[in-house]
Every structure is written in C-alpha cells, then in structure tokens.
C-alpha cells in the first residue's frame, strides 16, 4: 500500500475503535469508586493468612503465584531466544577472537566518570538487596530489585572496561544463574507437592508479621526472581554490548 493508503485505512479504523472504546468504557464504574470483589477479599485476608504486609506481593507470589512463575519463564525464554538470535550472528563475525585486549576498549572513560561509577556500585548493590529482601513488607521485590542489582553490575562497565565487566559477569555463569533461578521457582512449586499440598502451596513457616524472614515462601521466590531478572538483564546488556563493541572494532580496522 502507499503511505497515504495505509494512513487512510488506519484513520478509518482508529475512528471506529474510538467509537468502540467510548461505547465500552462508558460501562465502567466511575473512576475511583468501586473496589473489586476479588481485590477486597485479598486485601482483607492477606496479612492474616500470609503474614505479608505487602498485599501486592502476596497476590503476585502466592495467591496468583502461577502467573508469576509463567512470567518468569517468559523472561527466560526471551533471553534464550535473544542468545540464539545474536549468537548465530556473533559466530559469523568474530573472526579473530584473540587479538583484542586493546581494541576491545569501546570508549575511553574519563577518570571522573570512573570514580563516580565506582562509588555508586556499593550503594546500588546494597539498595538492590534491600529492595529484594523487603519485597513482602514494603514496595519492591524480585523484579525491581533484580534490575537494580543488574544496574550495579552494569556500573562496572560504565566505570571501567568491558573486559572487567566480562570477568565479573561471565556469560556462562549468568546463563547458568538464569536457568537455576527459573528452575528454583518450579522447584518451590514442587516442594509444595512434596510437603503434602498442591503445586505452589506454601511449605515454609509464616513467621512474625513484619520480619524479613516471614510470609513463608514469598521471600524465597523473591530471591529466585531477583536472580533471574538480574542475570537476564546482565545477559541482555552483555549481548547487546558485545554487538556494539564488535561493530566499533570493525569500524576502526
């Protein structure tokens, strides 16, 4: 289709969809009034039943834990897919893999940036760990904390070199971490079976409300998710970074 034809078809469709949305959305309750049956029920019982003060975490990791397990595998399979896609390409390009200590340096990093970056690494990792560990108590958890942890590792890249980043986070290790983390979630589910319940039934003591070690298996799952997310994110960045580095190298030569 020509550009204009495409736009015409789209605009006609968009007008129709707008009408459809007006018709459908007008049946929704007014903004800010109605609590849902399901949500209200969970808010009422989560603290008593799960000893988790963060009801969102209790919902995500316990009441609707299967969703989260599948979501973790979405992340897992996307990373595997990207490895598959980009790896094929790297095999073709990496003709001479041993010459490169010098040319692998992507960008000269200024000292100021380096110091700043190094200074941030510690706090970032600390903050990430905190976010993960308190996921069942306060906002945060495995996903948010996992990305923060990965950013801590990426700061190494910012501060120093691609090489030291590679050394800190070798691809194989990250791949294994990712797989183990994904596997852990399933294992937690199976442990529920072994303990006599159904798949994903809590099998750990619930502890005292407000403690870091409370809310049964939720903190454990949070850690698994954090590892999964962090490893996935590092792998992705590494994969894309390596691509970028290879290109610069080629442009220079």
């Amino acid at each position: 289709m020509s550009r204009r034809g495409r736009l015409f078809v789209f605009v006609a469709g968009a007008l129709g969809i707008s009408a459809l949305f007006v018709w459908g959305f007008s049946g929704l309750p007014d903004f800010g009034v109605q609590p849902s049956v399901y949500g209200e029920q969970l808010s009422e019982r989560a603290v008593d039943e799960r000893h988790a003060t963060n009801v969102v975490a209790a919902t995500t990791f316990d009441y609707r834990g299967l969703d989260t397990m599948i979501e973790e595998f979405i992340l897992f399979s996307a990373v595997i897919g990207i490895l598959l896609l980009l790896r094929a390409q790297r095999d073709e390009e990496e003709d001479a893999p041993h010459d490169m200590a010098e040319s692998r340096r992507p960008l000269p990093t200024s000292d100021a940036v380096r110091v700043f970056g190094l200074g941030l690494i510690g706090p970032t990792i600390l903050f990430g760990t905190y976010v993960v560990a308190h996921g069942h108590l306060t906002p945060g958890g495995g996903f948010q904390g996992g990305v923060v942890l990965a950013s801590g590792l990426l700061l190494v890249y910012l501060a120093g070199e691609f090489l030291s980043f590679e050394r800190l986070a070798p691809e194989k290790l990250m791949e294994a971490t990712e797989a183990v983390a994904a596997w852990t979630y399933v294992a937690v589910g199976l442990a529920g079976l072994v303990a006599g319940g159904l798949f994903l039934t809590n099998f750990l003591p619930l502890g005292r409300i407000g403690d870091v070690f409370s809310a049964g298996m939720i903190p454990l799952i949070n850690v698994a998710v954090a590892l999964e997310v962090a490893a996935a994110f590092v792998l992705l960045s590494d994969e894309f970074l390596e691509q970028a580095v290879l290109v610069r190298k080629r442009d220079r030569s």
Partner: protein, 114 residues
C-alpha cells in the same frame, strides 16, 4: 473529569498504533509498541483505583484501612515485565534484520511479498 484516565488510556493505545503504522524505523516501532502497551497499565490501575484509599501495604496503616485493589497492581506488574521482555526480543530481531538487510526502514523491507 472522572473519565479522564480512560480517555488517556484510549489515547495511548491509538497514538501507539499510529506510530507503528507510520514508522520508518524498526527501533522506533518497538518503542511505539511499548507506548501502546502502557495503555493497558493505565487502564488496569485506573479500574482498581479508589478515591481516598491508600496503597495495599499494611506496614504503617491500620488493618481496617481502605486500600486500593491489589489484584490490578499484580496484573500490571506482570504485564510490565512481559512488555519489556517482548520489547527486548523484538529489538534483537530488529538488530538482526538490520544485519541481513542493511536497513531498518519497513518501506525498504519487502522480501515477503505475496
């Protein structure tokens, strides 16, 4: 004004689609797709929102306080992670496409005709 969140959600959906339809760069297209997806976050959270209620986190608030719906938040969390994952995968495909075809412009990519 009580319909504003729904209007904005609909707008995000349509403007994102507009971007995809008119895009001349696959990376731009993936970002537009992320905008489209954000419409679903807004819609879900707006449906679960309750005036004068607090976040469903009972750390510092009494047990009988009014809280907003935790289920929509759980769904939005899941949705958000799925979204960024899919975006990453599509970006990798775009990078790879660029490698094969030497361009990111959908108008120039016409190998799959008919």
């Amino acid at each position: 004004m009580t319909v504003l969140p729904y209007v904005v959600a609909a707008w995000l959906f349509l403007i994102g689609l507009y971007g995809i339809v008119t895009s001349r760069n696959l990376i731009h297209l993936v970002t537009c797709l992320a905008v489209t997806q954000s419409s679903t976050y807004l819609l879900l959270l707006a449906i679960g929102y309750q005036e004068d209620a607090t976040a469903p986190i009972f750390g510092d608030i009494p047990m009988d306080a009014e809280v907003v719906d935790p289920v929509v938040q759980a769904m939005t969390l899941t949705d958000g992670v799925v979204s960024v994952t899919v975006s990453a995968l599509l970006l990798a495909l775009a990078v790879q496409t660029h490698k094969r075809a030497g361009t990111l412009d959908p108008n120039a990519l016409r190998a799959l005709r008919g």
